[in-house]
Symmetry: C2
Subunit: 885 residues, 2 copies
């Protein structure tokens, strides 16, 4: 990339080049710093190096091109002029922070350098201008520690040990108890250690420091944490980060200084009140890192905690901050996450951005902002991430369950979960791979723990507040989190924690309530969530805009009822085989399988008929006229037969055949690739009597409903069709059977006969298949398996590598592979409607509940999606967003 | 269907409505009768009811519409006028034959009625006009027997028994020894039996007889034999048959009468001489049915058989016939199969059609007709069915092998085969299903045996000549056949035959030599065919016209040499895994599989490297500059590991690991659907070192060739690519490796890197994949499995039903499913070339040797097909035909 015309954007009270809508170029932080500055808010001046330079940096072999560094130096001059301080000046030194800032927020994933500009001489100047030698040396120490680690690649624990040793030597516990002299000693020790360890001198020249810091921040775009985070959040690799160089302000220059972070509304509940934390005499990192427990920002928030709030401690500043936050929320029309520093009683705004929030909060804020006329309904719908609804729809702890409380921490991210305690990120991943549910227990979390947090169902920390790393990340992921739970004592070495006299070891079961902050021993019963209020309103608004229908996959009356309660508009997939696995039935289906000849087989089917009829009747009754799509028998018959010898013995007795005959039957049904074997409609081409029985059961159940005085239109679905003739033959069989029942019962009802499109051949010949189908339902699970040649059961082992290497952007079984499987779906829809313009088209694979897939299905022109009952609300919202796109 | 304008086509010396090119309407027989009549040849007059009436008949509920019957009667009148005889007239009766005749020849599959018009009065008239009462009553008996069976549905064995009983009562063996009175008694007995058995009177009215016969012939279009035959030969159901009503002439009216069939050239060898058989005093059915052994038509053909030829017996007639056959061959410009009857020294032509012939004969005739300027090269190419070449390319008996001869019959269809003797069609099917090779042994065959003939590798009959049912059908199918082998004595009941004192029971192995007529005990060694002469010429002519390249699938130097000898223009698929199965290598690949970690794995691969290198070097040497496409490792690793406990014990010792570890490894590699599992390029995404070793072996072998002073361009092929990124990553690995070797060895050569397109996703995203591919090779085996969701290993059980029910027209693994898999291939080619216009595209599935598939591949724009060495000539001819289409 050649040199862009403009690549550095300055911001100060007098001159501001950037705007909030320039995030692509300036990153979120840079764009918002410029915007806040333009709004007249007190922002320390500085400049943003655009994301384009990130590309130049990588193209220039990870080195800042000379022309870019020239631009940086020119802006440093401008900054010196605006602020009246000079970089490297002993008397009046300019110190700066160097921070990353990508288009999307990636909290804590990339690197930051503070206090840059300090050296052996400047530190003395800072001591004299600030009148606080301890502060100056502590700043210098912090700078060396950060810089050595981030820029020079020094192992930070080596420096930590020196610092802790000094505290031990002096017999103090808190950092603040070390004197200026102590810190001066630490600085010298740090430099020696760096020299010994790296063979390098710590740079003294502020300009060299600045170049190193900028390059380190650009480099950090490609560190492992950042790559993992981007993968999890679907952030493209090629966006790059901007770099913000900004004059330092200090919240740690004495007791008239402070630093804090706040949200314009409660990020956990969405309630409309100012919510935040601050620390007197601290730098921003101290609040986020959770090393000291911060204080609440308002009296209301402090409640009876006994902690003094900013509102009480610095009422004037609090008032100023309140005005600013309201102005910011009005300006951005969204809940803001702000960072501020108070330097010697003067308020500085360091950041504003749209605040992360729980799903509950997102919904409440979006709905209330409609009423406040801040945003319109469409904007409100876009504000809620459909996938995040999942956490609301999951179980919470049963309030009536017996519980043994271990401790109480902060309710950092809601929900109730049980799992096995693990004490490191690696262990979390390890136990998860063994198929266990795990809860990650850490003293505090850092970005290195991200993989473990992904693996865990819930996170428990003993330090840190509501805005600690653990809390923020857990909320973003929709995971339950209890933070700052000081009552428990973690021992990483022994892999255990102690609380209330109990010892919880790795693998022991514990339960978290992220809504109350409570931690319980053992497994606590959970209950289904009930939804209403803002959630109900959100669904109503969503239904107003969406065009895609939302049905559910339900095989039982219970599931059907749950799905209706969640707003399902019908059943898109009722799998009849699940009904056969019930203990009172499976022997009959086994008898059918081992039957010698048609008559014996029909006898067994005759026993299944009334059971199936009753199943269908109950489901029809609950669905009360809504469409119900029933898929006829799909799995290979061997799935119903026993697998081990003991079962063979037992079942052969029950079936009244020799165990040898049963074994022979099992052997004859074995398949090399059952996925591609004798299943689906192929069973009915061989044994038409099976589908005939099922069609009869459906028709008789429908007749019963009609006789009850109700209406219905059952939809009968033939699975695994590859060739139009299969459907032609089986449609005829179904129609003949249903018509016979209608005549016998003397009733009349409409019904549809359609097919799954779940094989590539069906998709590419959909025009021919549609001639015999009233509807299509895409079975994207099997379509993915066959189109990609990828067995879902076998691919887990290597699919992870595929996703991490970027061969598949996401797991194609979770979110539809748009380019491949999606192309087949599109072909199927278009060809199908070519033959039959009024063809009803839906999808009933797992993808039906995945928002990204739903967006695709809407574009492809489907009529409805069908998903598991708990994903119905997600689908409703995703469908609305798809309609707004 | 309403009444067509013209639907009956008359033919007589004076007036002929039809022509040879009206086969669609008149069927082959009708069109040729008209044509022969127009040519002035002596053809008994008659008329043809068009195939359109066959449709009318079925639409009219299997009854001839009145308007159609009116047309028939009008033409009967015309026929009476032309011939001067009257239907049902006692003094001068007109008798007719009623025969089927479809667009394509279906010998013996549909029904025929002869001597129609006879009744109790007319028979007396016939006796007096012919002066032969025995002849008249025998004709009437034959008519009743045929009519009762075909039209009235009478079980023919009931009538057979009456006839045999009469012969027994009279103490005679031959039909001819029964007197007119005996036959009169038989006629009465037949009529009683019909009345008793069916409750119906045998019709006396000739018009009623005619209507019944016409309807029966139309009905026979849908009998089981005809349906089976059409399925085997790909004849559409909707063609229908025409019906020919023709004045009878009699070959059985005395010793100055005869009937015969002949070919204008030898149908077995193609040699240009008149070749046929005849019987004095017989009806045509007698020759075809093989009940009496017919005599040769010419002196030359009779040789020293001791049988008198037509040439000697009736020299005048022979001369006339010779003139006619030459005229016919000149007229039709193809070898003709003719039927004639001599009635009281007068020659009548009953049929001419293009004669069925062996592949050898087809080639020789086609090539010689070019030289005779009868046809041009393009026509000659179209005259040979590519699939039929298969019989020439298959092994023949080793002349040096030790043999125990059992008997010698007629060399009815060439080739040498071994198989187990079976004695019924059902048994043939049954043994075949058990995976056995079978030879069907019958006294004579009839159309009912067709399924057994399909199942058998060879056919042996004890009766009938070179034009018997067995011989004609076997030649059409390209199966070995020894006919009329009177030296063996078959006992159906005991399921055995005796010859030369040996007893051969069901399941015993025998060997046939269809080129000599010899039958041997046990299995005789076979050898590869050598090809030349007309065959070589055919290949040369084919190569002149074809546009599609023909390569071969070959994994060994031996196969490569065979394929080159057959004219392969390169290797389209060299499967490297087959090389790993050699006993000196498999333990090294096993070591690689059980290796713990990269280093151990690389050590094992280091041992495989020199072996692979030598393999490739040998193949490159044989192919001498022709392109060689090498597919890198494809099968799942578990295929190389042992399956039973004994092997596990043994192999774990050899590999020097515990049997427990080996078992654990085997278990960890087990897959539910190996077809869709960890295989193909997925192995190399996980273990790049495998492909790296293979690429190195290829490059080093190529370097060796270059150092030998030769040229080559190896083509390295990555299997099972689903996503472009897979290919991108592995192409980079291959290129890096090859370039490294080139540098190390200081040589230079070109090479291509390409991919298999064998997954639907690859086909629909071929534009993206082509960006990283120099060539595509369609793997239509796997593409069929995935597109249809059909496991080749598991589907045999139900696929038969699918083909017989017409769901698939043919087995989609034999001939490409054009609509489904073909659509994906077309998409792949078109999208691929969109990205890369010079993309080389081939196909290397089994379909590469199937003529129908080759036709499709040519249309789809492929550059070449690759098939097994023995199918290379088939592919060359099929490719030429595709180019002419």
């Amino acid at each position: 990339m050649s040199q862009p015309k403009k690549f550095i954007y300055f911001f100060s009270q007098n001159e501001t080049d950037g705007r909030a809508d320039m995030k692509d170029l300036l990153g979120g932080k840079g764009a918002n710093l410029a915007e806040m500055t333009s709004m007249g808010l007190p922002v320390p001046p500085g400049f943003t190096i655009s994301t384009e330079i990130c590309h130049s940096f990588y193209e220039n072999k990870k080195s800042l091109p000379n022309w870019a560094m020239d631009g940086v130096l020119a802006n440093v001059k401008k900054l010196e002029h605006v602020i009246g301080k000079k970089f490297g000046d002993v008397k009046n030194p300019l110190l700066v922070s160097v921070r990353s800032g990508a288009r999307a927020s990636m909290p804590g994933m990339m690197d930051t350098i503070l206090n840059l500009g300090l050296n052996e001489e400047v530190v003395l100047g800072l001591a004299s201008t600030s009148g606080d030698a301890r502060f100056a040396w502590d700043s210098y120490r912090r700078f060396i520690q950060m810089y050595a680690n981030v820029v020079m690649g020094m192992n930070h624990s080596l420096l930590d040990i020196l610092f802790e040793d000094k505290k031990a030597e002096k017999g103090v516990e808190r950092d603040i108890d070390l004197t200026a002299e102590d810190l001066q000693w630490v600085v010298s020790a740090y430099k020696r250690a760096i020299r010994d360890s790296l063979g390098l001198e710590f740079p003294n020249d502020p300009i060299a420091q600045l170049k190193g810091a900028i390059e380190a921040v650009f480099s950090s775009w490609h560190n492992n944490r950042a790559i993992t985070y981007r993968r999890l959040h679907g952030i493209p690799e090629n966006w790059g980060t901007a770099v913000n160089v900004q004059a330092m302000v200090f919240g740690n220059m004495g007791m008239d200084c402070a630093t804090g972070v706040a949200f314009t509304r409660d990020p956990s509940t969405g309630e409309k009140h100012f919510f935040g934390e601050y620390l007197i005499n601290a730098q921003g990192e101290d609040v986020v890192a959770g090393l000291r427990t911060p204080h609440p920002i308002s009296k209301r928030q402090a409640g009876d905690s006994g902690l003094s709030s900013l509102e009480e401690e610095m009422p004037e500043i609090y008032k100023e901050l309140t005005e600013i936050y309201q102005k910011l929320e009005q300006h951005y029309r969204d809940m803001q996450d702000i960072e501020f520093t108070i330097e010697k009683n003067r308020l500085w705004m360091l950041q504003t951005r749209n605040g992360k929030r729980t799903a509950n909060a997102a919904i409440r804020i979006a709905m209330e902002m409609i009423d406040e006329k801040l945003i319109d309904e469409k904007t409100a719908l876009k504000r809620v991430n459909p996938a995040s609804l999942d956490q609301l729809l999951h179980p919470r702890l049963d309030p009536k369950a017996k519980k043994t409380i271990l401790a109480k921490g902060l309710p950092a991210s809601p929900g109730g979960v049980c799992g096995r305690a693990v004490f490191s990120s690696d262990d979390a991943v390890h136990w998860k791979e063994k198929g266990e549910k795990v809860i990650l227990v850490r003293i505090e979390t850092s970005p290195e723990d991200i993989e473990g947090m992904v693996a865990a169902l819930g996170i428990l920390t003993t330090r840190g507040g509501m805005t600690s790393h653990a809390a923020v990340v857990a909320r973003g992921m929709g995971k339950c989190c209890v933070a700052g739970c000081g009552d428990i004592h973690v021992d990483y070495r022994l892999k255990e924690f102690r609380a209330q006299g109990y010892v919880v070891r790795e693998g022991d079961m514990i339960t978290l309530d992220g809504s109350t902050g409570e931690v319980f021993l053992g497994e606590v019963k959970t209950i289904e969530p009930t939804l209403g209020g803002s959630f109900g309103r959100l669904m109503e608004v969503a239904d107003k805009y969406r065009k895609l229908g939302v049905r559910t996959n339900a095989d039982t009356p219970h599931d059907s009822q749950v799905a209706r309660d969640f707003g399902a508009e019908g059943i898109g997939l009722c799998r009849t085989e699940h009904m056969f696995f019930a203990t009172d039935r499976i022997d009959w289906i086994r008898k059918m399988i081992v039957a010698e000849g048609l008559n014996e087989r029909k006898q067994a089917l005759d026993h299944l008929l009334p059971m199936q009829r009753e199943d269908f009747y109950q489901i029809f009754k609950i669905m009360d006229g809504l469409p119900v799509t029933i898929r006829l028998l799909d799995p290979p018959l061997h799935e119903f037969l026993p697998h081990d010898e003991e079962e063979v013995q037992e079942i052969s007795k029950r079936l009244n055949i020799s165990s040898e005959d049963l074994r022979r039957k099992i052997k004859s049904l074995q398949e090399f690739n059952p996925m591609l074997g004798h299943r689906g409609c192929r069973l009915a081409i061989t044994y038409p009597e099976i589908y005939e029985m099922q069609a009869q059961a459906i028709a008789e159940a429908a007749a019963h409903i009609v006789k009850d005085g109700k209406k219905l239109t059952p939809e009968i679905m033939i699975p695994l069709v590859a060739v139009d003739t299969e459907l032609e033959i089986l449609r005829e069989l179904v129609v003949k059977t249903v018509e016979r029942v209608k005549k016998e019962q003397g009733v009349s009802f409409d019904y549809l006969v359609g097919t799954m499109i779940e094989l590539p051949r069906a998709a590419v010949t959909a025009d021919e298949i549609a001639k015999h189908a009233d509807f299509f339902s895409f079975g994207t699970n099997d379509l993915t398996q066959t189109a990609l040649g990828l067995s879902r059961d076998d691919s887990a082992k290597f699919l992870k590598t595929y996703v991490s290497e970027g061969i598949y952007e996401t797991d194609p079984f979770m979110s539809i592979d748009v380019k491949g499987v999606g192309a087949l779906v599109k072909m199927g829809v278009d060809l199908g409607r070519q033959s039959r313009t009024n063809l009803k088209v839906g999808i009933c694979g797992e993808h039906g509940g995945d928002p990204a897939s739903i967006l695709f299905f809407a574009k492809a022109g489907l009529d409805y999606v069908s998903c598991s009952p708990f994903r119905v609300p997600i689908a409703r919202l995703a469908a609305a967003q798809a309609a707004l796109n």
